[in-house]
């Protein structure tokens, strides 16, 4: 079922999402981040969480632009649980893929010259859920989500 979902995301990226941003230019990183921020605000996330989500989206979009040249950021509201709505962010590309996922999740590891190497591990820390599926030569899908805290 998980595999099916991954395949359908790669095949038909526009399904069921509130926001789909194609990442093809550097400016699209800021666009994706801005739109994520707006949707997170709409869902009622705290300012701290809105900032976390926008930052996570920024990291994911930049990875697409850097390593795959193009791909998509897809975001949707998750309202099934009325007491604690949430947001789901998916980053998908048909880029080179990641040979060693564990390695890229290591803080400080990067193949990019001008980078802190904390992008993906940062996303994992900022969000509540984080899953990554990648195949060398095929592409990468990162699925991540966050729930709104109720006080």
């Amino acid at each position: 079922m998980y595999e099916e979902r991954i395949t359908s995301i790669i095949e038909d990226p526009a399904q069921e999402f509130d926001i789909v941003v194609r990442i093809t230019r550097e400016e699209d990183i800021a666009v994706a981040r801005q739109m994520a921020k707006q949707l997170a605000q709409e869902i009622g996330f705290s300012l701290a969480d809105v900032t976390r989500i926008a930052t996570a989206v920024s990291e994911l979009a930049r990875n697409i632009y850097r390593y795959a040249r193009q791909g998509r950021i897809m975001i949707r509201k998750r309202l099934e649980d009325r007491d604690s709505p949430g947001i789901e962010v998916i980053a998908a590309d048909r880029g080179p893929g990641i040979p060693d996922i564990e390695l890229v999740l290591t803080r400080g590891y990067t193949t990019w010259e001008r980078s802190l190497g904390i992008g993906l591990s940062g996303v994992k820390r900022l969000m509540d859920s984080f899953a990554i599926h990648s195949e060398v030569g095929k592409g990468t899908v990162v699925i991540t989500g966050k729930r709104r805290r109720t006080f």
């Binding site: 550097e26 400016e27 990183i29 800021a30 981040r33 801005q34 921020k37 300012l47 701290a48 809105v50 900032t51 976390r52 926008a54 930052t55 920024s58 990291e59 930049r62 803080r107 001008r114 980078s115 802190l116 904390i118 992008g119 591990s121 940062g122 820390r125 900022l126």
Partner: protein, 120 residues
Amino acid sequence: MPIMRVGGYLLVPIQIDLDDRTVGRLQQQLLKEIERTRARAVILDVRMVEVIDSYISYTLSETAVMARLMGCRTVLCGIQPPVALTLAQMGVTLQEVAVARNLEHALVLAGSFQERDKGV
């Protein structure tokens, strides 16, 4: 990006969303201004900046390292609480950047560098 001269310092009030190109251009512009004005310190006011991600952090820190090599200190001020929270959670540390609470504190810090550098 507007860069103002205040005493021997350069003050940069960053009031727009920092995309990758903007932050890259700011770096170039700042280094040129440091060379031209022989400024002793650069103060970056990020009070209006809502998102600072790992690349922006990297570039700001890289700029500070470059500025330091040119004899100029860098002070960052006005980091918003949610931004501080996010940076801390991601584990970002900024090299060669002094951090001030606000603009007033930044000016005091910049001044203290000046005193210290005189003694060398």
